[in-house]
Symmetry: C4
Subunit: 230 residues, 4 copies
């Protein structure tokens, strides 16, 4: 595990705070080194301003702590389930950002209502099912990851095209090829959820944008013929 | 009364301002030294930026000023009633944070709509009754405390598991084992109230989360088998 | 006209910006020296960060410019009408703060829904009538002031107990014994309007607080037996 | 193309960020030198804090890059269509500011609900039609500009009196005689949209302000007899 990856994890966790996505210690970022299969993650309950590469925890994909004196984030098993199943992702972010969390709490997937959404998420951000009482009792964080993977399989979603999910009763997870992209997706998700709340206030019957607009906008920024950026 | 406790009270009052929970001078924090039975509290109407240990007021549980040249917060008697009846608490916070205050004004308890809430409050944050005209005329702040204690007794609530209350027509109080925890509970309450407002916009008929999720999430952070934090 | 009063006017105008009450140049503060009958007011359209005592404009109560190289605020005649009729006030503030402006635009007076409101405004903040086309054509800003004074006379309101008004189709004015108090009233009005919006979302049929609570809370901070502050 | 214009474009793009109108890289500002017919515009996908005159891209009105090593904003063709058709404008701004975008997403023009709006926009801010699938496939950004120009022609709107438009399913564009005015119009549009959302919550049937108030307020700040500012 390189110092560089730990440094990225520190910066990304601190970006959650500075971008207003989290209050208190309500969020965490991890990143994986695919060569070694090691994951660097925030220590549990440590304030963002105290984070530094030396207190980042390193675990393997079986959740053994490999490096670090602190306990890893209580959400670590959820992160690991995502890394094990979504082989193309390099970083995972969990927040309780308010507008996205409102969709989780209300039990509503986040429909694509405009091009801001289409620029980042190829269609409706899905809502993973609630866990059963048995799953909660046995291994809450592991089955949280399982419910996400199940949701993506059931809907035939590609985690590269849809780098976000809403957990029923809980809050969102996002991911990306690296920590910067994963945090950007958390910011984009929160903004899209905020805009959706206001859009529904103006028109409670609002329908998603037409498929051809979704496709055009998504492909402007992603895929083979993308022409956004340098 | 140690300087240390006064210093904590200064910091916690200033944290109300920096965390955006209060405008003007609409909030106050106190802390109790259980050995001496003395309470350190914000002076009334003094701007947060002017606070320092030397202008913090010290009162005993009978509301006699023991130290300090200033008048204590006009809400002091409410704080004292809480310290007298909730023996496990070490600090009390009062704010008019906007979303929580909206629930107070609307006369609605704050149902537990998600795990953000369950991480901090074990169930619905209760609404204390309005005071009678006679109580108001006789001793407004004292009876405010009485209404909180009555509410907790009537509902069989443990102030450790439920460190917050909404006052009818007024605003919230929170508490905790120390000033840091009590302020964190004010921040959590405001965020949960804000998320609840947005969740109800999406689904006005929304029900509280299932009991087993509430229990799992609360116990993840609190109680004998808590595994959150270091 | 003393430098001190001009300095207070500079600070109060800048406080509108730093407290988030105004965008661009959408607000102005004035103060009156009752001995000389002279009013210091913001120059029109000048950014808040460029204000200094030397560019504050001084006018008399008949709207003659007495000092200053700049044109006074385009709202000056409204300020003057308030000073001429409300003899107890020392400063006037105009903003387009968003939540209060929403009540102006929706044509609704701001009912007293909680003690935050009662601490600052003794009852419902009134809505002044819209101007007629003739009044607009003849002297818009003067008749804006006239509509406020008429409103207070018609409702029998005391401008000391009710230091705010909502203008139909427009935005709020507040006032106070000095610039600090007048700006505080603008902050309080915006917060009360924001809380009211959220309270009505939770309960669209919400009624004002009982009269005895209004009275108790208002008198806690104001009047002969006030016991808030030092 | 002067350094001065590039410097203005840098400052205006950075003002989008500091004024809270954009997250991530969701916005861009351009300015035109009418003598040379050259347009200075933000490079695509470059963070605002990295902008400097040397990385601003210069294109002509036929969308040939004249200066600069970077690709211009992906929205450049929309800007150019506006410059070609609206001969009086000197700068164009595109944002996804949340409240204005909510109107775009909900498919609602922004009615003039108060004098804040009337001070900046002479009447209802129009909603341009959605693009057809054929237009999207052929040249998305060009036809976005075409839809705006068509909208203004169909409604008989003067782009000087109405320096803003809402794109269906997308977000707003604003413009002005220079970058400072164009950004001010983006700020004003977002504030008016936010206030409108709150006004409609209070009164879903709210009608636009009377025509004589619109006219008076608009002309107070604009046109031959304007008396706002210095």
């Amino acid at each position: 595990m390189t110092q560089e990856l730990k440094r990225q994890v520190v910066e990304a966790n601190q970006a959650l705070k500075s971008s207003g996505l989290v209050a208190l210690t309500w969020g965490n970022v991890s990143a994986i080194d695919r060569d070694s299969g090691l994951v660097a993650i925030k220590p549990s309950g440590v304030p963002y301003e105290e984070l530094k590469p030396s207190n980042i925890v390193v675990v393997n994909l079986e959740n053994d702590v490999i490096e670090g004196e602190f306990k890893p984030s209580s959400d670590t098993k959820t992160h690991l389930e995502l890394y094990r199943n979504f082989s193309s992702i390099g970083a995972v972010v969990h927040t309780h950002s308010p507008s996205a969390t409102a969709f989780s709490q209300a039990g509503k997937a986040l429909a694509c209502l405009g091009t801001t959404h289409a620029d980042h998420f190829y269609g409706e951000v899905p809502l993973a099912r609630a866990l059963t009482a048995a799953e909660l009792a046995q291994d809450y964080e592991h089955f949280t990851g399982v419910s996400i993977v199940e949701c993506f399989e059931a809907l035939g979603l590609d985690p590269v095209e849809m780098p976000a999910v809403l957990l029923r009763h809980h809050a969102p997870f996002t991911w990306g090829q690296n920590t910067v992209k994963a945090v950007e997706n958390s910011i984009a998700l929160e903004m899209c959820a905020q805009m959706a709340l206001m859009s529904y206030q103006l028109n409670p019957e609002l329908k998603p944008i037409p498929e051809h607009i979704l496709k055009q906008h998504y492909q402007r920024k992603h895929g083979a013929n993308a022409y956004y950026g340098q």
